[in-house]
Symmetry: C2
Subunit: 208 residues, 2 copies
DNA sequence: ACCTAATTGGACTAGATAGTCCCATAAGGT
DNA sequence: ACCTTATGGGACTATCTAGTCCAATTAGGT
């Protein structure tokens, strides 16, 4: 938790925590689908069934709510990726990771893009704190991928002179760019193609 | 021009065309920096120095203006890319293209991202017509890159069995993902790294 | 039981924003 | 010259939205 549980260091009862969570999850869902700017506080209230005073009791305003949403979505994504990547040490494992992402995105025909990427492109130029939080999350994600690549190197599946960090950055970029193209085309194909190119490159470095 | 010069098939005098252009260019700049949703019509009026009736004379509303902005920005980007890529037929030429994009983005420390990509991620889930226009623009851009790769193949600089189209898609995805990561980190490095990975992959396919 | 603080409900306000309207002026064809 | 149409200025409206406020209720420690 990078954000305080309550915005003013107040104590938080079980009921209060539950309300806070309801607000954040509702806001997260709405902002993913409608976008941050297009999601109004009234939308959040209606979706979560809480009143305005509760929202302002837990958050200083919309910006603070957006930051809480970033923390929440970030935690969910990182958790998912940690489970998916934490013990991967082969190219085949990396391909399974790719398949899961592609299949998941195919369900929506590419719509909405990456939960983190959409937030990032909408918020980065507008809120410095939010941007930094997102930047840290991407760094963490990149670290998980770099870990996989290093394990690959340890097992001889990737040339030791390759830079795991740079390859991980390239892999995330391909993923994010793929998400965006898929969102625009309403078709997963470009996302799959982009990931395949990145993976093919990594694989090719085992035969260097 | 995919959009009619005037929204109702009216005739357009030189003065009218000039006003229309002033509106679109001002809106394009504002929406690039502030985002589409955060740019109000009053912002556009103030920046372009025209009155509200003129705006509604030329456009049916904000959505129509956004679509005109997409056409305008798209034309500019495609024109720039056509000049940069139209006659490139070597890896070195592709690297010069990379350098120009990276240097240009470095001037802003990554802020604002790609003119087309930012529009795409903000608008794709909200306006089907706009999304389709952007999708066509990305396809055109991808076609320019595929052309380069095919010329590379003709000159023996790329294995003929490689798919120029898929590599071009991967290249654009790396670029767009790189833009997004650079925007979030406020640092061009990830964009440069992503492009370098894509180019290294293409280069590696000449020695297959 | 009692007292303090957390929690909740919801009306209310100030300001922003997309869109409308009406009338004035300029242009260009005939 | 004249008449039609394009262009222009800007006040006005309806609505939406973030944020405020106050009073009522619940929880939890002692």
């Amino acid at each position: 938790m990078t954000t305080a549980d309550s915005h003013n260091g107040r104590r938080l009862t079980a009921r209060g925590a539950k309300t806070r969570t309801r607000i954040v999850t509702a806001a997260s869902d709405l902002m993913y689908v409608k976008g941050v700017r297009a999601t109004t506080l009234d939308d959040v209230l209606a979706a979560s069934g809480v009143s305005k005073s509760q929202l302002y009791h837990h958050f200083d305003g919309k910006d603070a709510l957006v930051r809480a949403v970033i923390d929440h979505v970030g935690e969910r994504v990182i958790e998912r990726e940690r489970e998916a990547l934490g013990h991967v040490s082969t190219i085949r494992g990396l391909r399974r990771w790719r398949d899961a992402l592609v299949q998941n995105n195919a369900l929506r025909h590419g719509a909405y893009g990456c939960a983190l990427g959409s937030l990032a492109s909408e918020v980065s130029d507008h809120d410095a704190l939010a941007r930094q939080a997102l930047s840290r999350l991407f760094t963490e994600w990149q670290g998980l991928l770099a870990g996989v690549l290093r394990r690959l190197q340890d097992g001889g599946g990737l040339a030791p002179e390759a830079s795991a960090d740079q390859l991980a950055t390239g892999l995330i970029a391909a993923l994010q760019g793929g998400y965006m193209l898929a969102q625009t085309a309403r078709d997963v194909t470009p996302m799959a193609t982009a990931l395949d190119m990145a993976l093919a490159h990594i694989e090719s470095l085992s035969k260097g």
